[in-house]
Symmetry: C2
Subunit: 120 residues, 2 copies
């Protein structure tokens, strides 16, 4: 793991609040899909690009950079030849993902309640 | 419980997403404090107004209206003389409050991680 290199690549920006992260990520289908893949164990950018139809390398890299900047994903560079990169959920990212799950469930429960109320 | 009257008072607006609700409520200290009071069993607007220093009746009513509109609080009007009003968490509101707790804990964990990293 080349941590020095990692630090240079992912220089931390001002961290937004968790609520702002939630809003930002939930509003972006690519971020959600990328997170989903990492949770399924698809860790390499190349594999992610193949797994998500319509996702370009450029957009994928932007999403990975954003998720890493938020502290949700952790990037590891393996100094092989050719070197390869893997992304994993951080401890924070794991809890953050659970939060997104709960929000999704709440969203669904509201949707159902709304549907049930239409005939009232 | 005068449900007919309640429906007239709280005509439903277009419902925002759960993520937008999170952002909106976390960004408003009054909303957070009102929710906290309801969770502690302080249900009447008069008692809330006395419990929160600096909170005016106008702002309290706006917050209560917003939280009710979001489906987080449920308003009950008791037709006594004089009539009185109580607010309670809905089932959704209870889950939503747990979500806010989890976000607060995550926020704290990030704050601690940030502090721990300063000496790296």
């Amino acid at each position: 793991m080349i941590t020095e290199q990692k630090k240079i690549l992912d220089a931390p920006a001002a961290r937004p609040s968790v609520a702002a992260m939630v809003e930002n990520i939930i509003g972006c289908k690519w971020s959600l899909r990328v997170l989903e893949l990492v949770r399924e164990g698809i860790n390499r950018p190349g594999a992610m690009e193949h797994a998500i139809e319509g996702l370009t390398a450029k957009v994928l890299n932007e999403r990975l950079k954003k998720l890493s900047g938020y502290g949700i994903l952790d990037k590891t560079i393996y100094p092989e030849s050719p070197p390869h990169v893997e992304y994993r959920l951080t401890a924070f990212g794991l809890r953050f993902s659970s939060l997104l799950d709960e929000i999704e469930q709440l969203e669904k429960s509201l949707g159902e309640a709304g549907a049930a109320c239409r005939d009232d």
